[in-house]
Subunit: 407 residues, 2 copies
Amino acid sequence: MALLVQKYGGTSVASVERIGAVADRVARSRAAGHRVAVVVSAMSGETDRLLGLASAIRHPPRGRELDTLLASGEQASIGLLAMALEARGCPACSYTGAQVPIRTDSSYNRARILEIDAARLRAELDAGRVVVVAGFQGVDETGSITTLGRGGSDTTGVALAVALGADECQIYTDVDGVYTADPRVEPNARRLDRLTFEEMLELASLGAKVLQIRAMEFASKYRVPLRVLSSFEDGPGTMIVPEEENGMEQPLISGVAFTRDEAKITIHRVPDRPGVAFRLLEDIAASNIEVDMIVQNVAPEHVETDFTFTVNRADYERARELVNPVAAELGAERVTGDPHIVKLSLVGVGMRSHAGIASRMFAALARENVNIQMISTSEIKISVVVDERYLELGVRALHEAFELHQG
Amino acid sequence: MALLVQKYGGTSVASVERIGAVADRVARSRAAGHRVAVVVSAMSGETDRLLGLASAIRHPPRGRELDTLLASGEQASIGLLAMALEARGCPACSYTGAQVPIRTDSSYNRARILEIDAARLRAELDAGRVVVVAGFQGVDETGSITTLGRGGSDTTGVALAVALGADECQIYTDVDGVYTADPRVEPNARRLDRLTFEEMLELASLGAKVLQIRAMEFASKYRVPLRVLSSFEDGPGTMIVPEEENGMEQPLISGVAFTRDEAKITIHRVPDRPGVAFRLLEDIAASNIEVDMIVQNVAPEHVETDFTFTVNRADYERARELVNPVAAELGAERVTGDPHIVKLSLVGVGMRSHAGIASRMFAALARENVNIQMISTSEIKISVVVDERYLELGVRALHEAFELHQG
């Protein structure tokens, strides 16, 4: 008799048949006595189709109207899934983001959830109905439709689980859990039974694209029990847990992650004084471009230094445009960039108590002649930037060097 | 400096290129100093695509969830058109039915507009922006999305013109006006410069599918100046005017109309007493099935009579299911039906002062051996039901007999 939030991605509702399979699964959960709130994405390919239309009209597409357009994709999904549930005798009611309402700020295309008023959904659940909520979308204070950005349906799922006080947030996807590496790149990759929030956060941010990073932050902050499972086959999936619940024996390394579509920008010989790093990233942050790695070496004579950061490849041109005038204003020598890089990372909570992981990692890459362009480390991960052509080679080398195929 | 409501149908926004052409036209109207509110339908084919998905999930598709699904089509259109306007430097803002809000009752799939609160739209127009409103949809008092049924975007256009006190409601379509007959059936058909509301009402209800009938009723009731024009070429179109403005010289007959997808149902030997006709149609009306012609002959001995009515072919099976138990309850002999009929009609305000139109009509059909199954007349039209195979033949025979190719 649990209260479950089940989130189904675009591939899970890609066709009428798959929507039927999702409805079967939801109806089974309800028949087992659970109260179920479902969050769905747009049918696979639909968001890209709409983006294609928008791009043909205005390039790059953005702003309020893009969100009105894109939100129609999830609206279609919730109507179809609710109909499929009704067809199975399972009472259901659909809700757009605005109908819930899921209140967000007005940063169109990348809005942030401010508050979810779950009163109506709770009343529906209490009346025995399944609620089907559109992921990825919300409404701002003026009543305009907003979207949360790519992958935002995960965030909707977790935020809804928090708002409803759900017992578990289940993320159904096209993989049956979280792996030690992407199985498409590393055939020996192994499914993990459990993972800490921190590790999952790093894995998500590093491109193991099972969960959107903001969803993870949310889940971690509010300690929502989270499970990643397959919508195509039954199985336990991977449970994401707070660290103390993860048991005593922790593996040294949980997995190898990568981010495929990265780009780096370097500002050369910028004055080494307080406030420079802030000024360099100020406009980029204001434009809601997410900056990933930031590397700055100690300046030899504390006069000038080189400053490098990475962004998603889609934001590369815009980030360069934004940073150029600031670099000139600060008297930097020049700005260079490379949109053909990837990031490889080792992730694991066990890492923090063990020296020697980094050198073992660098040695493994050196054996394969993979040149390391940038290095950055945190408590539970080590990331390196390499040329994009070394992605597969690098992932397999690290997976083997740390014997991740063994449980 | 007029306030215009421009309504564009699905074929006018069928592609990115056509949306661009609509944006050009709207931007020109605004540049000419007009304030413009635009109403758009879903892209041509989109509603059918969504209905196809829904039918595969639940047949027949209906209810609240169908409206949530279908309304996504117009939502995509308004986002795209508003973006196209912005790309042309024309400030624009899109509104779904719920955002306006366009308040309707809760008859899902066939909702009726109760009230339009135009305050927000008026503020946008006053601020110099074009408003782009989703046709066909509204919101009920619980906040659920509703749709107005096929062709409902015309109704949205006219209702919006009323709410805004617009100077003219322009219906852009794929034809350049109203013709004396459908040019695809009668090559000699001629465009009419003006037409009275009453004539247009009859023509619309009879399948000259330029305007949806409810839109016409609305326009007539509130005396909204209405113009039908082509979105593909420039031209004056056809102006729809109140009768007294139509000038002194009225043609005898304005045009020949037809309805292609009709079906008839006959209840045989039903008792001829008060209340029977009401009972026979009560459940059908409650199901929002539109009944078109109703014919009942005088009973020979005032005991039993035959009662026939016509409905849209799509409603035929459901109407039969609804009428069967009522017929049995009333002691009728049997119920028969024919889903393969069409209706041909002569329409013209000049008709009412001239005798002999009907006999001339029947003679023209008899000359071509077209058998007349039912006859019904009003002040400004005469309609006959014939077998569907006589449609083209009948239209051409009437067009010629009344010399409609001559202005």
